[in-house]
Symmetry: C2
Subunit: 309 residues, 2 copies
C-alpha cells in the first residue's frame, strides 16, 4: 500500500499534486533544488487547498496527510513508497534525478514520472528496477482536473501500472491506462492535434485569435466536456463523419515543424502570461482576474460533470 510519497521537483504542477495527495490522506515530502520554487509552493498550497474545499474533496477518516519540505533528495525519499519525479522536461535532468534516487530507495519503491509526453521506455533505463518505473501524467491544474494518464514502458511490470491505477482510484480520481507508450501520450497528442489546426487558422488569417477561442471553446470544448470524442462520433453518426472526413482530412494542417506564428513570438520573447504578451496582451490585474475567473468556472463545472451540482 502506498502511504508515503516523495515529490521531487515542485515547478508548476508540484503544489497542486502535493495538495491533492495530502487531501487523500497520503504523507508527502517534497523537494526542489530551488528555494524560490519551495517558497512559491508554500504560498500555493493554501490556494490549492481552498480549491479542493470548493470541489468538496474531503480527506479520509484518517485525516489529511502531512506535507513536509525536505532539504535534500535523500531526506525526501526516505521511507517513501512512491517517488514522483516532476522536474523539467529534459531527459538529462530527469535521468540525474533517477540516478540520485536509485541507491536511496528499496526494490519495492515505485518511481513515477509526471512527464507530459516523454516515452517511459526511454526513461526507465536510468533506474535499477525499471519494472517499478511508470508514467503518471497529471493534467494541469492537477488539483482540479481529476483525470491522470498511467503509462507503462516496455519494462514496466503490470503490477506497477495496477498499483498506480489503484492509488488514483483510491483518491477518487480517474486513471486512464494507456496500452502503448508513445510521444505525447494521449492527452497531449490530441491537444497538439487541435492546437496545430487552431494555430494554423489564426496564422493564415482565417480568424482572429479571440474569435477562434470563442468558436472552439463553445463549439468543441463545451461539447467535448460532456460528450467525449468517440461518443460524439456516435451522436453525429459515423456515416456523417465518414462523408466529411473523406474530403476534410486531406485539407487539414499537417505541419511537421513549429508554426511561424509561434517562432516569431518566441524570438520576440512574447511567451504568454509569464511575459505579459503572447497570443494576447495582459496586465497584472487582468492576469489575476483571469486566474480567479477560470478557477471558479472549472470548479463549478467539475461539480456539474460529476453530477454533484
Amino acid at each position: 500500500m502506498i502511504a508515503r510519497v516523495a515529490l521531487i521537483g515542485l515547478g508548476t504542477m508540484g503544489p497542486g499534486i502535493a495538495a491533492r495527495l495530502s487531501r487523500g490522506g497520503l504523507a508527502v515530502t517534497a523537494h526542489d533544488t530551488s528555494d524560490a520554487a519551495v517558497e512559491r509552493a508554500r504560498a500555493m498550497l493554501p490556494v490549492a487547498g481552498g480549491a479542493l474545499d470548493r470541489l468538496g474533496v474531503e480527506p479520509p477518516a484518517t485525516g489529511a496527510g502531512e506535507i513536509r519540505f525536505a532539504a535534500s533528495i535523500a531526506e525526501a525519499v526516505d521511507g517513501a513508497d512512491l517517488v514522483i519525479e516532476n522536474v523539467p522536461e529534459i531527459v538529462e535532468i530527469k535521468a540525474a534525478v533517477y540516478r540520485a534516487v536509485d541507491p536511496l530507495i528499496s526494490a519495492q519503491t515505485i518511481v513515477a514520472t509526471d512527464t507530459s509526453g516523454i516515452p517511459i521506455s526511454g526513461l526507465q533505463g536510468h533506474i535499477s528496477h525499471p519494472e517499478r518505473f511508470v508514467g503518471m501524467h497529471w493534467s494541469n491544474p492537477p488539483h482540479i482536473i481529476p483525470m491522470i494518464e498511467v503509462i507503462g514502458g516496455e519494462r514496466t511490470a503490470p503490477a506497477t501500472v495496477a498499483a498506480i491505477r489503484d492509488l488514483i482510484r483510491s483518491l477518487g480520481l480517474l486513471p486512464v491506462v494507456l496500452k502503448k507508450d508513445l510521444p505525447g501520450f494521449v492527452e497531449n497528442r490530441v491537444l497538439y492535434a487541435l492546437l496545430r489546426e487552431a494555430v494554423d487558422l489564426v496564422e493564415r488569417g482565417v480568424i482572429d485569435a479571440e474569435d477562434l477561442d470563442t468558436c472552439v471553446s463553445w463549439g468543441i470544448g463545451y461539447k467535448i466536456a460532456v460528450i467525449g470524442p468517440m461518443a460524439l462520433l456516435d451522436m453525429a453518426g459515423l456515416d456523417i463523419y465518414r462523408s466529411v472526413s473523406s474530403f476534410l482530412n486531406a485539407d487539414l494542417a499537417d505541419r511537421k515543424d513549429i508554426s511561424p506564428a509561434v517562432e516569431e513570438r518566441f524570438a520576440a520573447k512574447k511567451l504568454g502570461i509569464k511575459t505579459g504578451e503572447g497570443m494576447y496582451s495582459y496586465t497584472p490585474e487582468r492576469i489575476a482576474a483571469l486566474q480567479a475567473d477560470r478557477a471558479g468556472k472549472l470548479i463549478a463545472i467539475r461539480r456539474i460533470l460529476e453530477g454533484r451540482a
Copy 2:
C-alpha cells in the same frame, strides 16, 4: 431589419434553430419536403423550448415569434427577410433549393446556408444575388450552443455579413466571423483535427474508446470550455508549446483518407446511436438516459460559462 425568417429543411438542426429564432421574437415559417421531418420537428419544439426556459433565455418584450409550418417553399419564403437553408450536405440538393427560392424572393432578402463546411463561394453561384448569400453555421444542438459561425463567400457583400452578425448579437448569441471561406470553416476543421488523432489512437490500440473519452473530456474539453486554445497557449507558455511541438507535430496523425476503424463500422452499418451501435453499443433506454443527462449538463454548464449560475 430581419423580422421574418423562412427555414427550409428541418432535419437534425431545424427544430432547435426554429425554437431559438422564435424565442428571439422572430416569426419563423418552416418547410420540409418530408412529412416525417415536420412531425418530428413539431414534437421537438417543446423540448427545445424547455431547454431554452432552463437556460433562462427570455423572449423580448414583444414576445416570442410565431412558428408556422408551410406546405411549400413558396409559402415559406413569402415575405421573408431571411431564408435559412438547412437541407442535406449535398451540393445538388442545396442548389435545387436556391434555384427554387431565387424567383420568389426580393433583392433585399438574405439567403443563408447552415452548411457545416461546404465553401460559400461555390454555393453562391446558384443564386441571382450572390452578394446577399452568406454562411450561418449553427453548432449542434443549435438551441443550446450560443456560438454561430458567419462566413462570407468571394461575392458576399460585407453588409450581408454584418446583417447576420448583428442579428446573431441581437438574439444574445455569439457570432464568430470568418475572414476566409474554406472547407469545414473553423469549428469543424479544429474538431476533425482532434478526431483524426483520437480515432487514430483508438485504432492503433493505444487506448480503449471509453478511456479516450475520459481522457479527452477532462484533459481537453473541460479545460478548453473555460480557456480557449490561444489563451491556453499563453497559459502554458509559448516556449513550452514550441519545445513540444518541435518533435510532436511530426509524430501526429496526418491521415488523408478515412480511418479503417470508421470504414469497417460503416460497412457493418454500425453508424452510432441511430443504429444502436458505433464506437459504443446502446439500448433505447441508454440513449434516452444519455440524452437527458447530456442536455442537463450542457444547460447547467452554459450558465456557469456565462457567469449566470
